[in-house]
Assembly symmetry: C2
Homo-oligomer: 355 residues x 2
Amino acid sequence: MQLTTTYPDRNYPIVIAPHALDQLDDYIKDYKTKFLFVDNNIYRLWSERIQSIADQWNIKVYPLPAGEEMKTLEHYSQVIESLLAHQITRNTCILAMGGGATGDFSGFVASTLLRGVDYIQIPTTLLAHDSSIGGKVAINSSHGKNLIGAFYRPSAVLYDLDFLQTLPYSEILSGYAEVYKHALLDSARAVQDVENAYPNQQALAEMNDIETYLYRGVETKLQFVIADERESGVRQYLNLGHTFGHAVEYRYHLPHGHAIAIGLLYQFIMSNLIYGTAFDITHYVRYFQQIAYPLQRIKDFEFEPLYQLMLVDKKNNDQGVQMVLLKDIGQPTTHHVTKAELEQAFAELQKVIKE
Amino acid sequence: MQLTTTYPDRNYPIVIAPHALDQLDDYIKDYKTKFLFVDNNIYRLWSERIQSIADQWNIKVYPLPAGEEMKTLEHYSQVIESLLAHQITRNTCILAMGGGATGDFSGFVASTLLRGVDYIQIPTTLLAHDSSIGGKVAINSSHGKNLIGAFYRPSAVLYDLDFLQTLPYSEILSGYAEVYKHALLDSARAVQDVENAYPNQQALAEMNDIETYLYRGVETKLQFVIADERESGVRQYLNLGHTFGHAVEYRYHLPHGHAIAIGLLYQFIMSNLIYGTAFDITHYVRYFQQIAYPLQRIKDFEFEPLYQLMLVDKKNNDQGVQMVLLKDIGQPTTHHVTKAELEQAFAELQKVIKE
């Protein structure tokens, strides 16, 4: 499956397919210099294939440490100086092979190298189907995650489904939260489709036909991203579930998507509270339990530290905590919520889980 | 005088006027957080006015060391972390007050802070009328100047001519090379006008009506920049005089514009050589001597080290050194030149000066 973005200019193709990497040549043949930034874990798991690709197309391989911890200013400085030692021109392409952290870091390097060179996202996790689209690139500051970065579009996204074979279930679950979120932003039909396709842990672990749902998720995401690249308006809707989710992720060190799933539940409760919607909370809890999100963790959550974290969310302005809520499935909106409302929704979330 | 860029979107105003800073309020009143990055020398010379502006509009002042030496990755890391300590939102504006280095550095910080916040260029030198326009921002790598950066448009350029009062003549001369270059890229009439306005050192030192010629230069520059923001085509023409000029600047530590004036002479000689144009070299030498460019330095230049520096110029590709040449005034083009041609033009340049 393949689609192309629909910006006014500088569009890029997104390929979602088994063996997508076989098409790499089409995208890199015109560059004089090619660097491959690859997550160390992926490099170990796929070393033979990667080395063969690198040899075939004369690509310099830079294995990167896995995870967020490598997205520092020090590491950035070290890597960009090391690339510049090769006396490169702008006719250079960086390939970013790995999860979200690899894509964020590599994309930021590309966005600032010689005032910007091309880069190709090669996501290897289910979660990175989300982060690899839309051109958000960043490294971390000592004051917070992704605070130093750019909006900088890749020149292609090659999502090779072969990589998903080696994903542990916990990683699948983490990525699935964004697939599910995109369905919620799209339509009741889209939500029904993913729930039918993956009714329980076993079905989700098999990921049958995942291509279709990734494709749909990407289509949904692109609608928001293309309408509002720099996130001053509708792109914020992609943060559905993230105000509470991010707080949970930081405070309790849950994998990103596990925390976002909990944030989606919290958001349903808040929507019912604020808008009088009638989202069936029991249904969502039951579904998330069937596919094994760690909802039991919610019992031990404390409100106050999560509230403090929600206060520093980037969507806030002078009026306090701003959340993305659903007036209905497929109808996101933003709303300023008070501490009292946040606390009430929190109490209801815990109550639902404890029942 | 005021003009506005004509990009398809995200245009910005350019104000060139005495007391332009008095209009600052119009441009910053909507920002929650405002930082002023100011060149230390300017801060000392104008401390009272700057402090009064800062107090009036609640601007945090960051004095920066003057010159290229501060455009390091270390300094960038330190400054951006220090801004992020203020828990800022994207509703932040950075004001860059100083010469080209201040603008380059501040603009790069702005381009990467929270994935990009607004910045306003407040150039204080004649030379910075050029660098403050067009959105090229950068810091230096240990491997070369401006190798880490972005194309990132300011949200306004406020060129307050009051600052020019304190400029030493050497600085005026440095900035004037870009004014003259823009005239060469425009038309014979434009060249005639600036030569008539500033026929000798005394006239140039007085800078009567400089506003008019800065405005025209900016108009000319914008034509190239807007047609080709990322410098893959016609924007390269703005490098007229820079292939040889940059080499001279680095090798012999001449002020930027002094080196560019020499590069412009060299380019006329090369154009005559390659295209058989009939540029009157004696005229340009005489004019540049009348306004006191240090052409005598040319006598001591050596070809080989300059050639090595021209080889690493960013405009080059696999076919060797690429120069911008004039087929006529107002008709720039690019041309690959051989080492033999470079050496021949060099010999003629030295001969003309020694006569």
